[in-house]
Structures are given as C-alpha cells and as structure tokens.
Homo-oligomer: 149 residues x 2
Amino acid sequence: MPTQTDLEWADYARDVLRHSGRHRGAARERLIDLFSSWDCAFTAQQIEDLLRRSEERPVGRASIYRALELLSDQQLITRLDLGDGIARYERAEPDGEHHHHLICGECGRLVAFDDPGLERAIRRVSERLGMRVSSHDVVLRGACLDCED
Amino acid sequence: MPTQTDLEWADYARDVLRHSGRHRGAARERLIDLFSSWDCAFTAQQIEDLLRRSEERPVGRASIYRALELLSDQQLITRLDLGDGIARYERAEPDGEHHHHLICGECGRLVAFDDPGLERAIRRVSERLGMRVSSHDVVLRGACLDCED
DNA sequence: CTAGGTGCAAACTGTTTGCAACCCT
DNA sequence: AGGGTTGCAAACAGTTTGCACCTAG
C-alpha cells in the first residue's frame, strides 16, 4: 500500500504537471501511479510489461518514452545510466535528496545508498578544480550482501 | 610525437595480445597506434572517421568494435559511459592508475581529473556498507574552465 | 596449411519521430 | 472547439552477428 511519501510524490507530480498547463492524459497517469507505488528503478521495457500485464488498457511505447522525458524534465523522476545502454528511471524526491547505486555483479540487483562523506568529497573536488559542478553520478560495481562470499 | 609512456603502453598492449596467442591483425594494430598516439577518449565513430581519413586502408566498423571489445577485455583500454548512450574508450595505464571525468555542459569537453579524497570516500562507503566494491565510476557535470562565467 | 582476423551487409536493440485519431478542459 | 495527448508504425543510431574471404604464424 502507498505510504505517505508516495502519495505526496504523486500529488506533487500531478501538481507540477497541472501548473505547467498540461492535460491529464491516461499514459502519464499510469506512469505516475507506477512510480508512486514502487520505489525501485524501472527500465522503459519493464514499465511497458507491467502496464501491459495489468487489466487496464496497455500504454503505447512512444507514450511511455514521452512521459518519461516529461517527468524527467520536470525533475519528478531521475534517469539512471548504469553503463549497459539501458536507461532506468526512479522517483525523485521533492526535497532534492539523492542517493547513488551499487550494482551487484552476481545477481544484478541495484542497491541504493547515500553517503555524506562521498558528497563532501565531490564538493571538495569541484572546489579544488575550480569548476562549477551542477550534478554528479556515482556507480559502484561489486557484490551485494546476499551474494557476498 | 609519442611519449615514453605511449610507447610503453603500445608495447605492453602488443605483448598482452601476443601472449594470449593472438595474431597480429591490421585492424588491431591501427587501433593500438591510435590509442597510443592520442590520450583522449574516443567513440567508435571517431575512430572510424580517423582511420578512414588517413591514407591507409580504412578499417571496417565491425573490426573496430571487435578490437575495442578485445582491448577492453584485456584491460588495455577502459570503456566510459557518460550517459549519452555512446561508449567512449581511452587507454588504460598498466599500473592501474585511474581517473574520472567532468563533462562540460557548454562545450561538451571532457576533463579528466583524479582525486585521492574521492577515492578514499568511495573506499569508506564500501566499508560502511560492508560490500565488496570492485570498481566504480564517477561522472561530474558542470562547466569547464573555459566556459565558466 | 589453418586457426585466427577482417569486411560487408544484415540483424538487433533501445529510443525517437511523423502523423492521424482522440480526449481533456 | 482546439490544443495537448496518444498509439501505431516507421525511422534512427549505436552496436552486434553471420559468413565468406584473407592472412599471420
């Protein structure tokens, strides 16, 4: 069942879209429901399958990509690139809180984590280099706790 | 002109390939020359263009990809994924030394940097999480010194 | 001679786009 | 009514693969 935060996110998302003068189309609604009910990262393919599997009318692939682009532009979801050439998307929290991921080489699982020390280190690098850094991505590859020997 | 390190790398690369019982094919040789003479990150497309532009016989696209895969498997080059869906490759140093990149959002330039503090932070995260981390990628997005306001 | 390497063209995969029908508001 | 939205199918771009020919050892 949806938690408080999920509902808040969905409401917030609908709000953002409405305020940018957009209609409330079916495809977008379905994606917002999906993202608000699960908080893992989806590929477009997974989204298509999930929506196709449900009782309701499936959503066209193009609409999925268009909705992902829109939600992403509005910073309602975040796009992850894990280096396999397949884009993944996950809900972004309104407060801008963010995390990074470790990919388990054994089972392929994605483990999210956040770490103030890492964020601090990145801030320091950008100061040392004298460059304005507007965003950053970190991906760790290794073994998750279940697969660890 | 090639520096000491570049020559060393090329020699080392040829050595690694020879010791794994491989013939010395033309395509591979051309790629090794390319990587040893320039130390920026190439896309497959750029490599194809560069080779096509030279006087010698161009190298087929398939061979380029096959050579890149081989060199990459042997850890002679490193594959970069910057999130635009285009793989880039750069020479890997034999001593395992590595760096990360900042992409300038204005001019698209790729700026390489290394930072012990960042490496340390990553080591600490993996300890804190209790996970074995075998590799990591960091990509910063921002503005390079030339484009900074 | 022969296993390994190469080039071409065709297949694949994830993503984008053109366009006609559709439906919020 | 009318512009935003959707779905289909076709187009795209980067990469991979099948296969016949070539070549280093």
